[in-house]
Symmetry: C2
Subunit: 196 residues, 2 copies
């Protein structure tokens, strides 16, 4: 019983996600959020909690809605295909939406005031989780003989992640999709092979 909610929670979360994506955590104000969502402040608080909780929910939704290419990539047969799938799909995601280029994992917060530290750390953990999955996958590739015994799988995973981070920065700076794809090409040209 009681009055019904008049807005679609998921639509509002998507709107908030887009704002965070564009302006980062610290750069986003409730004025921005209410304008984008078409919903007043107290409604946001009652539906999602405070700003940090809202950001964390937006980050979860980002994972679900936009990063499905990562589990896809991990299932591919060779480590090179895994890396290629991730890099090219990252370029696509970073340049697909003209009003929020780059990546929430980077735009959200790289540096910031002390008050934003928990969010910054959450993003560090978020990125580390992706890197750990990649590391694990490359370990499997080594066991399967897809990667040479000498391969530093941890560094390889960190390298792919560094590329996605760097390209995200460049996408946010306005780099074209074509340019970033060429950058990804160059990154993949360094990929180790079993027979070298």
């Amino acid at each position: 019983m009681g009055r019904h909610r008049e807005f679609d929670v998921e639509k509002v979360l998507d709107a908030a996600l887009c704002v965070f994506w564009r302006k980062g955590y610290e750069g986003t104000s409730y004025a921005d959020l209410t304008e984008a969502a078409g919903v007043e402040r107290p409604a946001l608080y009652s539906a999602f909690g405070n700003k940090e909780a809202l950001f964390r929910k937006a980050l979860d939704r980002y994972s679900e809605r936009y990063l499905d290419y990562i589990p896809e990539a991990l299932k591919l047969p060779t480590s090179r295909q895994v890396a290629a799938h991730i890099l090219y799909n990252a370029v696509d995601l970073n340049t697909r939406h003209p009003d929020h280029t780059g990546c929430l994992g980077i735009n959200g917060a790289v540096a910031g005031s002390d008050e934003t530290e928990p969010v910054r750390q959450a993003l560090i953990d978020f990125r580390a989780a992706g890197q750990a999955q990649l590391h694990e996958r490359f370990e499997r590739a080594k066991a399967e003989g897809d990667l040479p015994e000498t391969a530093n799988t941890e560094a390889l995973a960190a390298f792919v992640m560094a590329m996605t981070h760097g390209m995200a920065v460049q996408a946010k700076a306005g780099f074209s999709r074509d340019m970033l794809n060429a950058v990804a090409d160059q990154a993949l040209s360094t990929w180790p092979t079993k027979s070298s």
Copy 2:
């Protein structure tokens, strides 16, 4: 005539630079700046102008004091040495100071509120200037036969910059110097050669 300034302008600028380096432009408040510099607000305004002007001066000083390895790199004989010098020195710079890891060009601002847009753009230009120098140097390498005729020098320059950006993000996330050096190794592992 008139009273003398009681603080060292360069020391105060260095202090401000360190704060911006750690917290970024938007994450830095005048409370932070005055505490770090040991100088009151009005003194900062009279010596440097407003927050944006102070940041721009800090960025200039950053260039002079910390990025001298870039002109050094450009003078090296081969494009591979140029890239290696930049990447390893970037790792060093990104991890040398425990209280401000990463790079001001990235930490300063990747995303932010609309008010920070001029600073964000200044950093984009700043990074683009470095990339242009690199591009030019790689063009020369191609003319000298150091790089193959087929090399995409613009993408190569963007690739090296993407690596520095990505490693800067990782350094700010706490990655070790050793890990980042291994990432740089991977990036350099298949630099294009004249004879391939």
